[in-house]
C-alpha cells in the first residue's frame, strides 16, 4: 500500500518557521545564500528584517548565530547539511555545543537526494558527527505532519538542535491526530518476526516495505525515531524484545548514525542481534532519485528484499541444515 503524496519537508520548514515567527519575535533566520533551496525564502518575504543574509560563508554564519543567541534571539540556520556540519563543525562545537547556546541548525538536502549534486553535497555522517557533540539534540522528521510539530518543538525547547530537512516531497505517514513528542519514538506497527527501526523520511519507505513484507507473511514491528538524540531507549528496548532481531534502516552511513546509536543502546539495555541497512562505507553519486535510492538499496522495494534476505539467513543460522540450533542472542 503506497502512502499518499505529501509536501517536501523543506517547504514545511519555510512555512512553519514563517508562522512561528509571527508570534515569536525571537526567531531569526540566518541564510548561507541557499534560501531558495532550503525553503527559507518564504521567511525572507514575510519577515525581511529578521532574515539575515550571511553569504557563502558557513563557518562565520554559525558563529554569528551563537552571538545572536547570547542576546536572546533564536537563530535558525538555513544551509545544506554538508556545509553546516562539514564546513562549520568547529564553530558548532566551540560556540554552540559547548556553551549550549540556543541555536537551531537545519541541515537541508540530507541523505542521498540532493538534486543530482553528487558526493560533494551528499553527507551521510551528519547524524554520526552531530550525535558525538554533547548538549546537541537531533531531530529527523518523516513527513509534513511530523515536521511541522518537530520544528515548533525545536523552537520552543531551549538549547542547540540539529534537524535533518529532506529536499524531496515525502509521502504523508501521519494522520491529523498525530502528536510529536520530543525524545519519544513512535511504534508504527507491531509484528514478531523482525523489529525495524528507522528515522527521517526513510521511515516512509520502510513503512511501505513493512507493508509489502506483511503480504509475504513476514510481520514486522516498526519503530520510527524522530528524535535521534536523546534516544528513546525504553521504546527501543521494548521493541527489540518483541522479535529479538533488529534491523536499522537509514539514509545515512551505516557507521555511527542511528544504527550506531541503536547498537550502543541495545548492547546496554537489551542485547539482541542488530543489522544495519544504509549507505556502506563509501561516497555517493548523482543520478535520478529513484535510481539512486534503488542502487543504494534504500527504496521500499529494496529494503523489503534486504530485510527478507536477512531474515532468511538468520533462519538458516538458527536452524542450520543439520537441524542444530545456534544461539545468537
Amino acid at each position: 500500500m503506497a502512502l499518499p503524496a505529501g509536501k517536501a519537508l523543506r517547504v514545511v520548514f519555510g512555512e512553519t518557521l514563517t508562522e512561528v515567527a509571527k508570534t515569536d519575535p525571537r526567531v531569526v533566520v540566518l541564510d548561507g545564500d541557499v534560501a531558495s533551496s532550503t525553503g527559507a525564502e518564504l521567511f525572507e518575504t514575510e519577515h525581511p528584517d529578521r532574515f539575515l543574509q550571511m553569504g557563502i560563508a558557513e563557518q562565520n554564519m554559525l558563529g554569528v548565530a551563537a552571538g545572536l543567541a547570547t542576546v536572546g534571539f533564536i537563530p535558525v540556520i538555513s544551509t545544506f547539511a554538508c556545509f553546516a556540519v562539514g564546513r562549520a563543525f568547529d564553530s558548532i562545537r566551540v560556540l554552540i555545543a559547548q556553551p549550549g547556546l540556543n541555536v537551531k541548525i537545519a541541515g537541508g538536502y540530507v541523505g542521498l537526494l540532493t538534486a543530482s549534486t553528487g558526493k560533494t553535497h551528499q553527507i551521510f555522517n551528519d547524524v554520526a558527527i552531530m550525535r558525538s557533540l554533547a548538549n546537541v539534540s537531533i531531530l529527523a522528521p518523516a513527513d509534513e505532519v511530523e515536521a511541522e510539530q518537530a520544528i515548533r518543538a525545536m523552537v520552543a525547547i531551549d538549547g542547540p538542535f540539529y534537524m535533518q530537512v529532506a529536499r524531496e516531497p515525502s509521502p504523508v505517514l501521519f494522520g491529523p491526530d498525530y502528536r510529536f513528542e520530543f525524545g519519544r519514538a513512535v511504534k508504527l506497527r507491531v509484528g514478531s518476526d523482525v523489529t525495524l527501526v528507522s528515522t527521517g523520511v526513510e521511515t516512509t519507505r520502510v513503512f511501505e516495505a513493512a507493508e509489502a513484507l506483511a503480504g509475504r507473511g513476514i510481520e514486522a514491528t516498526l519503530l520510527h525515531v524522530p528524535t535521534i538524540k536523546p534516544l528513546d531507549e525504553d521504546a527501543l528496548a521494548e521493541a527489540a524484545a518483541v522479535s529479538g532481531f533488529v534491523v536499522v534502516v537509514e539514509e545515512q552511513s551505516i557507521l555511527g548514525g542511528l544504527g550506531g546509536a541503536v547498537a550502543e543502546a541495545l548492547s546496554d539495555r537489551q542485547p539482541v542481534v542488530v543489522k544495519r541497512l544504509g549507505i556502506p562505507d563509501i561516497y555517493g553519486e548523482s543520478g535520478p532519485n529513484d535510481l539512486v535510492l534503488d542502487k543504494y538499496r534504500l527504496s521500499a522495494s529494496k529494503v523489503a528484499e534486504d530485510v527478507e534476505a536477512l531474515l532468511a539467513s538468520r533462519r538458516q543460522l538458527l536452524h542450520g541444515s543439520n537441524g542444530g540450533h545456534v544461539a545468537l542472542t
Binding site: 563557518q59 558563529g63 552571538g67 543567541a69 542576546v71 534571539f73 568547529d90
Partner: protein, 290 residues
Amino acid sequence: MTVVQASTGNLEATARQARREIVKAVAHAKAGHLGGPLSATDILTALYFRVLNIRPEEPDWPDRDRFVLSKGHSSIALYAVLALRGYFPVAELSTFDAIDSRLQGHPDMNSLAGLDMSSGSLGLGFSAAIGMALGARLAHRSFTTFVMLGDGECNEGIVWEGAHVAQRHALDHLVAIVDKNQLQQFNWRGEGPHGRRAPYTDSELRDRWSAFGWAVSEVDGHDIEAVVEALEAARNVVGQPAVVIAHTVKGKGVSFMENDFRWHSKVPTDEELATALAELAEPTVQRSGA
C-alpha cells in the same frame, strides 16, 4: 555602582599590577601563555577601566557593552583585569588552569560570569561578536560590541568571512581590536627577531581591513590614554564597522620576554619570575610622590 574614572597614572599602575598577576598565575599554574597576554594587557585595562559600559556587580546586565576575547589563549590577561575590576577576588587568579577552576585555560562563558563568549579556537570569537552586534540592532539595544583578535589570528579564513559580513550589514556598533604584536606561536621563517617574520607588515593588515570596508585606525597599544581615545573614536564611527590596529610588543613589560616568540607559552622559572616581578614593580620614584 558609580564607576570611578581612574586617571592615566592609575591605569598604568593597574596594568602593571595586572601584568604581575599574569606572570604569577602562569608560574603558579606551570601552564598558560605569557607573550600574548602581556601584549594585550594595556588594551584590556583601557577597555575595562574606561571604555566599556559595564556593571561588574551585575555581569549579565542586558545593556552592557560586550567584549569578546577572540584570541582566547590570552585568557589570563582578561582574568587579571576582570579580577582587578571587581568581577571576582584577585586571590582566585591562583586557580588559573587548575582542575575545577572557573578560570579555564581558555575562556569558558559557562563557568565564569562576566565572560560574554567562550573562545579559544582562533577566529570564532570574532564571528560571535558580529552576532552580538546584529542582535543589538535587532533588539533595539544601544550597546557596542568590542572584540579583540591577534594579528596571527587574522590568518584564519573565518576572520575574513566575518569582516565581509559585518561590512555588508554596516555594523557600526562593532569595534574590532587587533593586538598586533607581530609574532605568532612558531611563526614564518624570515627577517625579524630570532629569524622570524611578522604575520603581516604594517600596510598589509591596514590595507586588508580597509579593503573589506572597515574604518581603520592605528594606535600605540601600550599608550593607555591613546588606546581609550582610539576605542571611543571607533565606537562613534557611523555606517561601517571599525577596527583599531594596536601596535604592541609581545611579552611587553618583561625585558627578556619582549619580542621573543619563545615566550608565547613558556613557564618562567622561579628566578625568571623574580626578575619579571622586579621589573614590573611600582616605580619607587613615582610612589614617593614626586
